[in-house]
């Protein structure tokens, strides 16, 4: 366990006591989606940057946004489908750094009736965690992109765990939308399961860290330190060829089935570090890209999912060094 050693060099954001900061995640932390935060925490990267970060999970994106707006937390991570509508509405939130460049949502279906592209979605009954949530928005984007009538897809709220696969098997659902590592786990446990992005990754979804402008004004150094810590944590995982050390560090503080299973965890992390975290490789880790940002806005705007506005107002480009 040489996690501390990995974080041997770096900036010196503050002197004296560590600065407290609360980060809210829109899902429970026990998902590899949050590997960067967990690594920054377990690997001592936050500490090294003079931060005392509390990671608090809440139930869903809206609560995460509201926690930040209300001051209960300072930073959260949001997809553009979720962050841009309130931004257009004039809610005071600003994107400070890009964590993921595309969606990692997966559709799980049965081999007898596989869903492997957006076109396959037509006429299906699809399960998802909640109505009107991130998954449904992504689905609508993908359907619009592929020219499929969104009305033809029946949406049902279900638990997004492996148990729901029984509903697929029983034919009550054609498929359901889950996160990457859940998909890996389902695939590993069920030979008859088919997992695929089904076009949900086709649209440029950008997942960014957000904070209020007020907080940015007041403590820019803290935000920078936070981003720097995450960046180093991600870099560490990218550099860790066989991911063994990564898993060891993560497991030193976190424990959940997908993390405990070498095969699932490595597969999920591999996908993340080769695609989602780095995108097309044109921007440095965590660096916001104005083009990508406005591009994402155009698509959402074009699909009628956000009103007209000026996306350049909602983003800060110079917080990641």
């Amino acid at each position: 366990a040489d996690g501390g050693g990995a974080a041997s060099s770096g900036g010196d954001p503050g002197s004296g006591d560590p600065v407290a900061l609360t980060y809210v995640s829109f899902l429970p932390l026990e998902s590899l989606t949050f590997a960067p935060e967990m690594m920054a925490d377990a690997g001592g990267f936050f500490e090294k940057h003079g931060l005392d970060v509390t990671l608090e999970p809440v139930n869903g994106t809206p609560v995460a946004i509201q926690s930040v707006l209300g001051g209960a937390a300072q930073v959260t991570r949001l997809s553009t489908v979720d962050s841009m509508p309130p931004m257009v509405d004039g809610q005071p939130i600003t994107a400070v750094g890009t964590m993921m460049h595309n969606s990692i949502l997966q559709v799980v279906s049965h081999e007898s009736n596989p869903i492997e592209s957006a076109a396959d979605l037509e006429g299906t009954t699809l399960g998802m965690g909640s109505v009107g949530g991130t998954s449904e928005k992504m689905l609508d984007l993908a359907l619009a992109d592929a020219g499929v009538d969104p009305e033809s897809v029946d949406r049902q709220v279900v638990g997004v765990g492996p148990a729901t696969f029984d509903l697929v098997r029983a034919g009550q659902l054609d498929g359901y939308i889950v996160s990457l590592d859940t998909a890996e786990a389902i695939a590993a446990a069920n030979d008859d399961a088919v997992t695929s992005p089904a076009g949900l990754d086709g649209t440029p979804d950008v997942q960014t860290y957000v904070a209020t402008p007020e907080y940015l004004e007041q403590s820019p150094e803290t935000v920078k330190a936070f981003l720097a810590a995450i960046k180093e944590a991600v870099q560490f995982m990218i550099d860790d060829e066989d991911l063994d050390e990564t898993l060891e560090i993560l497991r030193s503080k976190y424990s959940f089935a997908n993390l405990q299973d070498d095969a699932i965890a490595k597969a999920a992390l591999e996908t993340l570090r080769t695609t989602a975290w780095i995108g097309d490789g044109s921007t440095p880790l965590l660096q916001n890209s104005m083009d990508e940002w406005t591009g994402s806005y155009e698509i959402l705007n074009g699909a009628g999912m956000v009103d007209d506005g000026d996306p350049t107002q909602w983003i800060e480009l110079d917080l990641v060094e």
Partner: protein, 266 residues
């Protein structure tokens, strides 16, 4: 006499008065206090959203679904709660044996069983009814149990001396003696049935007012969300008042009913 009339009219004055007061305070908190409108939209925004929402035919369909789920769940809970309560109230050894299981069925987090619910009952209204029943059952049963146990010994002895059979004792004595208790239980139960049905709509399917709340929340449309919640509250309150008022017809003889009347006089 005059006061008695006053008591009848009073709630129609004070309650809206209080509501208006609350709304004004809320509006002030939002406009002056600077509460974020996404967290707590102003009453004005909410009413605009509300009016719009009431214009959508979908809303009324969802109201129908939710009310059906609540009422059905409530009625099933009352019937089973009375039966189980009376039986357990009269057979202590059975009660003593079953009570732990009943309690566990109540405290157990239902969320774990949602997948099972969906598999057994599908995405339709059934699983909502089941949840509403599950939640509403307990207070009814417990109060009925207490009621059966609280029946005066003297009254029981009257029935015994008349050689009344079980059914007669139930219909002439127990059923009536437990009424005040049953009503207290039903007042809690209708509230819990409402909660149960709405929770059921959150976690499965895509219809009903509960699902509408979630949709609005996910769309970050706070005014609409609060409007739906307002509608839900009115429905819940209405159902509650129906239960509460029906007391006057079913147990006019009970202290809790007639002392209230007399307090207005004496």
């Amino acid at each position: 006499m005059n006061r008695r009339k006053l008591m009848r009219i009073l709630p129609w004055v004070t309650t809206p008065g209080l509501v208006v007061l609350l709304l004004v305070a809320w509006q002030l908190a939002v406009t002056i206090g600077g509460v974020n409108s996404l967290i707590f939209p102003s009453p004005l925004d909410v009413s605009v959203a509300g009016v719009q929402m009431l214009g959508e035919p979908d809303t009324w369909e969802n109201v129908g679904l939710t009310v059906t789920a609540i009422v059905t769940g409530f009625l099933i809970a009352v019937v089973t709660g009375v039966l189980v309560g009376v039986v357990l109230g009269k057979i202590p050894w059975l009660e003593v044996s079953l009570r732990p299981l009943i309690v566990i069925s109540q405290v157990v987090p239902k969320v774990a069983f949602v997948p099972l619910f969906v598999i057994w009952f599908g995405f339709g209204i059934t699983s909502k009814i089941v949840l509403a029943t599950l939640l509403a059952f307990f207070p009814v049963m417990l109060n009925v149990l207490l009621g059966v146990r609280s029946i005066e010994r003297g009254q029981r002895e009257v029935m015994q001396s008349l050689n009344a059979n079980r059914i007669q004792t139930f219909s002439q004595l127990e059923m009536r003696g437990i009424m005040p208790y049953l009503f207290a239980g039903m007042e809690v139960a209708i509230v819990l049935a409402t909660i149960g049905a709405i929770v059921g709509e959150y976690i499965g399917g895509n219809r009903g007012l509960g699902a509408m709340v979630v949709t609005a929340m996910n769309a970050l449309d706070s005014p609409r969300m609060f409007a739906i919640i307002g509608l839900l509250s009115v429905i819940g309150l209405g159902l509650y008042l129906i239960v509460n008022e029906s007391k006057r017809f079913f147990i006019p003889w009970h202290e809790s009913v007639y002392t209230q009347r007399e307090l207005a006089v004496a």
